[in-house]
């Protein structure tokens, strides 16, 4: 009966999660890809809606039909109309897909088209999403929840809080990863936060705060036969009060006794049964550190970030299994994917500990609130595996890639008030703990201030003790007569996760140089202290497993795998933690490289440590080392693996930065040589190469004194782009338009000196920015893609809206770009992927940057052009013959637009303005028959809406105002009501466009106030173009921009993008948008 029902399902629609944003990132590419694989195995036709073009799931062959369209009820309905699927999966695309699914269900759409929801029924989803229903549901089975009151107004919230007693926490119902939630200690704070939360959701929840309790999660699976398992439990290092996405998390739990563990496990199973989940869900608990009292925080009736982490932590493919269960299988029907022999109905036994650490990029945002709380701000995460907690956390702290070497031996942090910084956590707290321990704080004192369980702190103290012991040594160790006497200490350090670098720094202190790290490596190897390779096999070695999922540890004496030494493997270095500037697009590149290597008969090997990725799915390669991408660890692996070669160019900047050092160790780097990479990376070398080729570039100079800077500015004129080599806080580079700005920015730089030079470049205004992504072989370009930015230069290429193929470039410009790129490819003898960024003004071409690796836009151009650039590049690097593809971008009858996704709503207080430093967290890519259709799809995909009626304009400088005149005219003709601030209002009136004048916050005694209109939700779209960087303008503009974000009103801050978007929605109705799958664009 079961099999028959399954056979009835022929076509299934899967909703993706759209662009990566804070709270919803790469984990859903992984879960969606797994689900699609599970369906494919069953012979089911799969339809995917996901505008995120950089994902693996939107690659050829993963789903049968792919729609790069917004995941909103409107577009999903139109796809359903067209595709007529039998079933739909809602649990694999995060909150976006879940919310969309609930809306479709409530609107009766699914019923109308007879689409069956596979897996967890929608009613069960609603029972978990609506707080009141949820509490009621759990009350029915006597499971304790956090006492909470659902309210719909600020006054009711105040009343509820008075009854519960402060501190309280408020949350917005139906919100992504804690959006619009926060702690309030008093009524004033409550009123502020409640207003904001109500702008995201009609309902907010007021709850008693349980700050300081342990936070524990269980990943639970249930099949339709009511069989349940808990695949993994996890414990937050940071106690309740910090969003789990912001917490360091370990799996399995470390401080729970058997009775506590199983009490919560039993509850989790009771809950999942009562709610009626079919598939996977996550149960979060608050757990009293002084008794066995608990509260259920929430249940996520879908795959989540935690489930992706749990899958990677245990080797149990939750999404894959959940998809099968959704089709109607029982857990007993399925096999353990790792052992292939034992049943999928089991609970993994770990024989290691994993540690997840979030990665923040708060430094990229002007003015952002750095304190961590109940809402998520991190942009990525890492997972470290070890056989001691010390090893796992030190690995993890290196992996987050922010210049830290582990828990100790880092650059000294300046912490003015350690107590405060311990008590009020920021993204740096773990390092504050390190500093406090060094400063003599005891475990108990730190526990008092942080409420972090003493067990974790004791372990961290072990690391500090070992650091002290190492620091007792000095360089005389190199002359030691009996090196063996250092064996115990060296081994202990390595077991506790110390890197060779940390050991060298402990010994040589400030005098440490790179060669000392090499010495430590040789020294410990001579003592026989080397890491061993262990498998993740789900059953703690109880059954033999042919698993290729590996990690390295110093707690061991033997490798689990045998090395053939046949040089038939190729190692691909992954891209590490997702961060602003490097995310899912490099995962796509890595996966394409792995696929190509396999196809060509080599064994593919991946090194990466990001649990949100597809490249760290052990199915994707022949061997997965879930481990660090440091020089030390990569060398450890290469020495064991002895591969045919290593690919550095598909993982972004992290592997690229290893090129020179790996080359020094005679590692076989496939493709472009390390020397060429160095010539492109080193500003001076690259510049002189361009000079010798006669290629133009913006004038720049590396300067060491303020006087020199002023001299240079005299020569090139303002504005200039300033890049200090070290900044204390805030953006790493900035555009300065006058002396005052220059001085203000340079104050942020620690100092300008010989040791810390500043790079100042001429900043060319109103220039087009153009990118070329290409693959070359022995210096000859095989394939290229030229794309143009919608915005003028000055917006970081990662934030810009990119059009491919270019629609508004002179033929002359294109010809010159091809020529220049050809010259560079030849000069650097490129073999593999590369990217060049150009400025074009009139037909003058200047080169800004050149990267001898794949760039962020490789998946976008590959998918638009339908030529896989990475496959070609990989073949080139492997030395295989490739043909030049016959087709090029000018043959395309459609346009692709890549638009950026921003997550400012999560970054409290950050100024949502774009500049030379990247701020977007994700992107989409949509196709259309012309620019307007593509841009409309893309903008709707990143959360914009076609405005209903009222638009607020402040359009910046005279030039920008003029640029936007045509768009304003269109809006007026289309019947929109325009509201404008002083100068803009004047300009519009002068040009005969009616507009209502509104006042800036600084003109507080006049009405109507722009801010008030935003508060009252009277505005549907805000276009706010910053004129310049003067303080007052920023204050006024900042308040408007921030209010737009906080009240969830679409905001555009760039004149060119605003014009393009306005033109699109004024010339097209939403119904004009064509519902075409990727393969229908020919």
């Amino acid at each position: 009966m079961n099999q028959e029902e399954i056979k009835k399902i022929k076509k299934v629609l899967l909703l993706g999660s759209g662009a990566l944003k804070i709270g919803e990132a790469g984990e859903f590419d992984y879960s969606g890809s797994q689900a699609l694989k599970a369906l494919k195995e069953e012979g089911i036709t799969t339809v995917l809606i996901n505008p995120n073009i950089a994902t693996v799931q939107t690659s050829e062959g993963v789903a049968d039909k792919i729609y790069f369209l917004p995941v909103t009820p409107y577009f999903v309905e139109r796809v359903i109309q067209k595709e007529q699927p039998d079933g739909i999966l809602l649990a694999f695309g995060g909150q976006t897909a879940l919310n969309c699914g609930v809306q479709l269900y409530q609107a009766g759409t699914l019923e109308k088209y007879n689409v069956k929801v596979l897996g967890t029924p929608v009613q069960a989803i609603m029972d978990t999403e609506d707080r009141e229903l949820f509490v009621k549901k759990l009350d029915e089975i006597d499971v304790k929840t956090i006492k909470s009151e659902a309210v719909n107004s600020i006054e009711d919230a105040v009343q509820a809080a008075a009854e519960l007693g402060y501190p309280i926490i408020i949350r917005a119902a139906y919100a992504l990863g804690g959006l619009g939630s926060g702690f309030c200690d008093n009524e004033e704070e409550l009123r502020l936060k409640a207003e904001k939360a109500l702008s995201f959701s009609p309902q907010i929840l007021v709850e008693k705060s349980l700050k300081g309790w342990k936070e524990i999660e269980y990943e639970v699976v249930r099949d339709r036969y009511d069989n349940c398992i808990t695949v993994c439990n996890m414990e937050n290092f940071d106690p309740l009060g910090i969003h789990t996405g912001e917490s360091i998390v370990v799996a399995p739990s470390q401080t729970l006794t058997n009775s506590e563990y199983h009490k919560l496990r039993e509850l989790a199973i009771r809950i999942i049964r009562h709610i009626g989940i079919v598939g996977e869900c996550n149960v979060q608990y608050a757990f009293d550190p002084k008794s066995e009292d608990y509260r259920v925080i929430e249940v996520n009736a879908r795959l989540s970030r935690s489930s992706a982490l749990a899958s990677k932590a245990t080797g149990y493919p939750l999404a894959f299994v959940a998809a099968k269960l959704g089709l109607g299988y029982g857990l007993f029907d399925l096999k353990n994917s790792v052992t292939k022999e034992t049943s999928a109905f089991f609970e993994p036994a770990l024989d290691y500990i994993v540690c997840k650490i979030p990665r923040w990029d708060l430094g990229k945002f002007q003015g952002v609130d750095r304190e961590l709380g109940s809402s998520m701000k991190s942009v990525g995460e890492v997972m470290a595996i070890g056989r001691t907690f010390e090893e796992a956390i030190q690995k993890g702290l290196r992996m987050i890639g922010q210049g830290m070497h582990g828990f100790v031996e880092n650059k000294e942090l300046v912490i003015p008030n350690i107590d405060k910084s311990l008590h009020e956590p920021t993204d740096k707290r773990i390092f504050v703990i390190s500093k406090a321990m060094r400063a003599g704080y005891t475990v108990d004192q730190i526990h008092e201030l942080t409420k972090i369980d003493c067990w974790f702190l004791q372990k961290l103290m072990n690391i500090v003790r070992t650091a002290h012991d190492l620091e007792e040594l000095d360089e005389s160790i190199t002359r030691a007569e009996n090196p063996q006497e250092y064996y115990d200490l060296m081994r202990r350090a390595k077991i506790q996760g110390f890197s060779d670098f940390q050991i060298a720094r402990a010994i040589w202190k400030e005098k440490m140089e790179d060669c000392h790290m090499q010495w430590v490596r040789q020294f410990r190897k001579s003592l026989g202290i080397v890491p061993v390779v262990k498998q993740i096999d789900t059953l703690a070695a109880e059954y033999p497993a042919q698993t290729n999922y590996l990690y390295l540890t110093y707690s061991g004496i033997a490798n689990d795998v045998k090395y053939l030494g046949d040089h038939k493997s190729i190692v691909v270095l992954g891209s590490g933690a997702y961060r602003i500037g490097s995310s899912v697009e490099f995962d796509w590149c890595g996966v394409q490289a792995l696929n190509t290597i396999r196809k060509e008969g080599y064994r593919s090997v991946m090194i990466n440590y990001n649990p949100e990725t597809v490249s760290t799915d052990y199915d994707m390669c022949d061997r997965l080392y879930f481990d660090e991408l440091t020089f030390e660890r990569v060398m450890d692996i290469l020495e064991l693996e002895n591969p045919h070669g290593v690919i550095l160019s598909t993982g972004g900047q992290i592997p690229n930065n290893l090129a020179t050092r790996l080359d020094e160790q005679h590692v076989s780097i496939l493709g472009t040589t390390a020397d060429s990479i160095d010539h492109a990376e080193d500003r001076h070398k690259f510049s002189s190469m361009l000079d010798s080729l006669g290629i133009d570039q913006p004038r720049w100079r590396e300067l060491t004194s303020l006087a020199d800077i002023y001299d240079f500015v005299k020569e090139v004129g303002y504005p200039v782009l300033v890049r200090p080599s070290y900044v204390l806080s805030g953006a790493a580079m900035n555009v300065c338009s006058n002396n005052a700005e220059l001085e203000q920015f340079l104050q942020l730089a620690a100092n300008v000196s010989k040791k810390h030079p500043v790079v100042v470049s001429e900043f060319i205004q109103h220039a087009k920015e153009i990118e070329m992504d290409a693959v070359a072989r022995n210096g000859e370009i095989i394939i290229y893609a030229i794309s143009e930015h919608i915005e003028f230069a000055g917006v970081h290429s990662g934030d810009a809206t990119i059009q491919f193929p270019p629609q508004k470039l002179y033929v002359e410009t294109v010809r010159r770009i091809k020529k220049v790129a050809g010259q560079i490819a030849q000069a650097l003898n490129i073999s593999g992927p590369f990217n060049i960024q150009f400025l074009a003004k009139n037909n003058d071409i200047k080169v800004i940057e050149c990267n001898l690796r794949a760039s962020r836009s490789f998946p976008f151009v590959s998918k638009v052009l339908k030529i896989n650039f990475i496959e070609l590049a990989t073949k080139v690097m492997m030395g295989l013959p490739v043909e030049k593809p016959g087709k090029n971008e000018f043959d395309l009858d459609y346009v692709g637009i890549k638009a950026s996704q921003f997550s400012f709503s999560r970054l409290q207080k950050a100024d949502p303005v774009l500049g030379v430093d990247m701020a977007s967290t994700g992107e989409v890519g949509c196709l259309g028959l012309d620019t307007s259709e593509a841009i409309l799809k893309a903008m709707l995909s990143v959360g914009y809406q076609i405005p209903k009626k009222n638009i607020l304009l402040s359009t910046g400088s005279a030039k920008q105002k003029a640029d936007m005149l045509e768009a304003a005219q269109l809006l007026h003709e289309k019947g929109y009501s325009l509201f404008a601030t002083g100068g803009t209002h004047q300009f519009l009136t002068d040009n005969g466009i009616p507009a209502v004048k509104v006042y800036w916050p600084s003109e507080s005694d006049h009405e109507p106030q722009a801010l008030e209109m935003l508060h009252n939700k009277q505005i549907d779209l805000v276009v706010n173009i910053p004129k310049n960087l003067t303080q007052k303008e920023l204050d006024n503009g900042y308040k408007i921009r921030r209010a737009a974000i906080d009240f969830n009103i679409p905001l555009i801050t760039n004149a060119r993008l605003a014009s393009a978007f306005i033109e699109a929605f004024c010339s097209l109705n939403i119904d004009d948008i064509q519902i075409k799958s990727w393969d229908e664009y020919k």
């Binding site: 398992i229 399995p252 401080t255 199983h262 089991f346 036994a349 024989d351 003493c454 703690a540 070695a541």
Partner: protein, 356 residues
Amino acid sequence: MQTTKKASLILDDGTVFVGKSFGYEKPVAGEVVFNTAMMGYPESLTDPSYSGQILVTTYPLIGNYGVPRREEVNGLSRFYESEKIHVEALVVSDYSFEYSHWNAAKSLADWLKEEEIVGIYDIDTRELTKRLREHGSMKGKIVIEGGDDIEFVDPNLTNLVAKVSCKEVIRYGNGDKKVVLVDCGVKHNIIRCLLKRNVTVIRVPWDYDFNTLEYDGLFISNGPGDPDMCGITVDHIRQAMNGTKPIFGICMGNQLLSKAGGARTYKLKYGHRSHNQPVRQVGTNRCFITSQNHGFAVDNSTLGADWEPLFINMNDGTNEGIRHKSKPYFSAQFHPEAASGPTDTEFLFDEFVKLL
């Protein structure tokens, strides 16, 4: 850092694993077995079924939450599974010298020292486990640096049940129904589970002829070693089966009931010791995650005509329980009382009590 003595675990195939001592210092020998549970070391260490065994935990971090205090409630230990530690020695990878838990009274090391039990750490327990998996459970011994050596012993050649069983009849509770519990090395949580269901438990030694007693139901407990050592118990059970009073057995109890029903048992290569063993109720789609600790198993093919398998292990197809086709006799090879481990199958106690 702690100063600890070197200690070597020597297997009878000659393999030596060198670690450090953190428990009592004495030479010790036994059968080396591994358990893949990730928590519950106080429960495991006090489980009498581990008698004669050197226990290896595959989970590397042990000792994190210390050890709860020794406390008795109505003649039963509150937090332990018996009155004392039964393992011969404990072998771990990363021992946590410091611990943190509100309910902890002492460190694991202090407890081991108090009870004169050997503990060693800094062992590659994964490599050791693989060896045990490949060769099967092995005899082993631990020798502390500078201490005496010891001969290998095979605990399965001695009657371990006789060693750990109670020596006289003990009564617990005062429910209406009386259950005779044959103590082959019973875990206290079994008694707690029965008492929770309001029955009187009459705990008798393994070789006690309970047929002389008046009772409503018979329970046969878990216990260490080879079931073939318990011929007397099997005889007593067989005699009881002349009547129709309900019988329920756990672990060793499953094996003894099977033997009484005419089946044979055999030694598994390396046994089942973990919290994640999947079993399926035969003829149904009901599956359970179970806690297990056994080295011997019932041979399904030797079950008599009146008997059928009740549960089957979903990983290796071995027997996980039997039931009589017409009489109220059933048993489980796994541990429905958990402690430590998952509690999915505690309902079996309800079913037993319902039959009384």
